[in-house]
């Protein structure tokens, strides 16, 4: 329907329109780069004080995705917290909400570059997670195979229309869009992502529905020469 189903490393996966990845056979739901506590971190680092509502917003979206899929396992693919301090100082009601989401299922926190150490919340903390030939880790590796990662917050769009958060998929890897409420993005046509992805790969645009398009059709953003 609104989601995009595909086969990756002999596994059937679904790129959901909301930016989460669903593995029906194992009932795994994967989300990446939640960046919970971003406003709190900006405040602690001397920036503008932003009200903490974006954490709430991200968790509501996650709650909806979990309600839709009833996963046995939830994998948060790193940068779940904006930094370790943000994880520590999460307001009590948010902590309670996370505990509620975790109840009755496995919960895996993959470590990201923003939140490198274990945090005080429930669930297991892993550097990466291997299962059935797939590996879930935060940052894609050059030699990666059957690799599902996040980190880059890719965005892509049909030429002439605006860019939206997107999955990037080729035969070796899936790079996931960010799931957090206030996170920016990196164009799929920019160099770091071009270097990682095979030219025959796909971008799956998210939003009200998941729309596939070939990576080869992406136009390099103007001014990207440098």
């Amino acid at each position: 329907m609104n989601d995009y189903a595909f086969t990756f490393a002999d596994v059937s996966l679904v790129a959901r329109a909301d930016g989460s990845l669903w593995w029906p056979e194992k009932a795994i739901l994967c989300v990446s780069d939640l960046h919970l506590g971003k406003s709190d971190r900006i405040a602690r680092r001397g920036g503008t004080l932003l009200p903490p509502y974006e954490t709430q917003e991200t968790l509501w979206q996650l709650q909806e995705a979990i309600a839709d899929t009833s996963p046995k396992t939830v994998i948060c693919l790193g940068d779940s917290f904006d930094d370790l301090g943000a994880a520590m100082s999460l307001p009590a009601d948010m902590q309670k909400m996370i505990a509620g989401l975790q109840a009755g299922r496995n919960w895996i926190w993959i470590e990201g570059n923003h939140d490198p150490g274990p945090v005080e919340l429930g669930g297991s903390h892993l550097l990466d997670y291997h299962t059935q030939g797939l590996v879930f880790r935060h940052i894609a590796t050059a030699a990666g195979c059957g690799e599902i990662s996040g980190h880059y917050h890719p965005k892509a769009g049909v030429p002439g229309l605006r860019q939206v958060r997107s999955f990037l998929i080729d035969q070796n890897r899936v790079i996931m869009p960010s799931f957090g409420a206030y996170t920016g993005g990196l164009s799929a046509a920019s160099q770091p992502l071009r270097d990682l992805m095979l030219p025959d790969g796909l971008a799956i645009l998210t939003g009200s529905r998941a729309i596939p398009m070939p990576l080869s059709a992406l136009v390099r953003p103007q001014g990207a020469r440098r």
Partner: protein
Amino acid sequence: MGMTSLPPLFRDWFASKGWSIHPHQQAMLDRAEEPALLLIAPTGGGKTLSGFLPSLVELSDGNHEGLHTIYVSPLKALAADIKRNLGTPVSEMGLPIRIEDRTGDTSYTQKRRQRADPPHILLTTPESLALLASYEDAPRIFKGVQRIIVDEIHALAESKRGDQLMLALSRIQTIAPDLRRVGLSATVEDPQAIAQNLARHPDPCPILQADPGPAPDISMLVTDEKPPWSGGGAAYSIPAVLDLVKQHRTTLIFHNTRAQAEIYFHNLWLANEDALPIGIHHGSLDRAQREKVEAAMVAGELRAIVCTGSLDLGIDWGDVDLVVQIGAPKNVKRLIQRIGRANHRYNAPSKAVIVPANRFEVVECVAALQAAKENDLDGDPGSPGPRDVLCQHILLMSCSGPFTADALFAEIKTVGAYASLSRAAFDDCLEFCATGGYALRAYDQWQRLKQVGDVWQLRDPRAAQRIRMNMGTIFDYETLKVRFKRGAKMLGEIEEGFAATLTPGDTFLIGGQIVRYEGLNQLTVEVSRNKGREPKVATFNGTKFATSTQLSQRILQMFQQDSWPALPAHTSEWLHMQRDFSKLPEPGRILVETFPQDGRQNMVVYGFAGINAHRTLGLILTQRMEAAGLNPLGFVVTDYALLIWGLNEVTDPAPLFDPQNMYDGLETWLQGNAVMKRTFRVAATIAGLIERNTRQGRKTGRQATFSSDILYDTLAKYDPDHLMLRITREEAMRGLVDFGRVEDMLERTKGQVDHLRLSRVTPLAAPLFLEPGRIPVWGEGRERLMQDRAAELMEEAGLTSL
């Protein structure tokens, strides 16, 4: 102290100059005791001296101690100008009067000294005066002040600066109950409204009308070359305008936007074979550069100056004998005031030429000329005093010392614009100043006032410095300085939003030259010289004025004529073609044309409600079309019409204009709208929610935009009833959203739609297809395009399934 005749000293001085006193100057002397008095006089009528004469006479005996007269002008430069001009009579008559100015440019030590020992006459700006009233020693400074002269009051009347001034005045009047108020104004459509705002409410304010002088000589430029179908550049007029410059001593060439002024100036120089000295002056240019042009102009070294509204106010620029207005003036009152810039000698007619920038503007210019001849000025109905300014005033007053809510409320009610302020609305603002509002209650930085008994005071007295640092109601959209790479010379400033759209290699115009964008270094835009003739990016955002209601109505009336002898042939033929092929819009009805073009279905609505209201109407209509499954893709607006294109044909447009629930759709899109965020940024900054200046230094534009946008989104979602959001909605409705004119249009036409289905584009609609500034609609239509296009790309790449 009846002051009916001029003291001998003054009479002799007038005689020595060979002058006789103007009747309105005498009248000002005769009525010097009025608590409030408004003088309406044309530019060049010795208006400023009329204001000062009673003060000079009263001070001439040398018996007054301390501050006697405060002079307020909207421009710092004007204050400096007056100091010079007033210096002449004071020194020639040997009057014992000390005159000083106090503006943002005055040094810190000078300002401190002025607080300890105020001059007899203080020349200042609304902001500096409001600041002065916020000091603990304000009662000492203003004790015994007799008169306040507000110059160019018409320029302050419709702005928040004026509201701030009047609020500050309410405090000064409490300190000095005998203070008399004098306003000096250019010709305006509604002097009564200005008078009411000037006087202490509910005191009366008599109005003195000076002889308006001879009628101006205004004409429209008609060239052999036809004006283009769209655009605002008027490049076609350059040879003719150069000829006019040659025939006159000094010409002012007015433009409606800075971008247009830049482009015109550039083209003028390319065609300027005689190398006539021509300068450019607008608000984005570096101050040093502006001052150079001003000095050259006063010295009579320039034959012409290309300028914008920054030259609108009454500084005496010397010998201007011609005003050229490029582009339709949009507003008759502004046209008249600009024309007043020419011929400053009393009793000589001013001469002006209007240059239409495109074919439709020919019609508009002719309508404006007729209105100007009939002196039919346009104006907006006054609105109640803005509450963001009130919040700032409350904070500033808390800096001057503890206060009771009752006393401050009573004082504020003496300001005309706030006379109808309810106690609940005042308490609302006070609560916001005290806590920042419900959603922000957890943050210390917004907890500023505390209540002890029934007295309010600053929670932390050190906050006073921060509040003063962030005061003011002038809101320049954040700008970035532009300079050559590896060079020290500042070229000027561009809006941050425009800078964000540039990529290295883009060329644009500034200071009349084409430069190449190299990159951003800290807060400075670095550019290099570029030899090209055509800038790639031709525009940066200037204010977009909407054609006034009165002028739009005049145009609609004009369309009803059988023929148009007042219009040049190329334009009247165009209107005849429209009448034959389709229909000309009528005042009491909405004309809607639909036709296919370029593979899309198009709908043109001739709303004649001005560009801002059309943009709003475009958003409402496309939202309704979206709901009706008509798949709109985008729209573009001008002052007279709105073009919407989409995937489906609109077969029955009338229900789209149903005034019922018009407001519903508005609320929804308003929330996510950039216009709202812009408006919010201004209101929240004025009210003190967002700080422009911190002790660490000025916030960068990007920082400020980012935080204000997020603050806006958050409040919109979680505390939609927050005072700042209510203010934002109200302001946007009046300002950029201009919902009032959408409502007017619907009321005027009672939703009567004339729908014409046509096979192709019509003459009147054709220019809309050339209009820049197309606004995309992100809806199902585009979603479908995106899906279709992505599917095609998949097909082409042979990737229908991976």
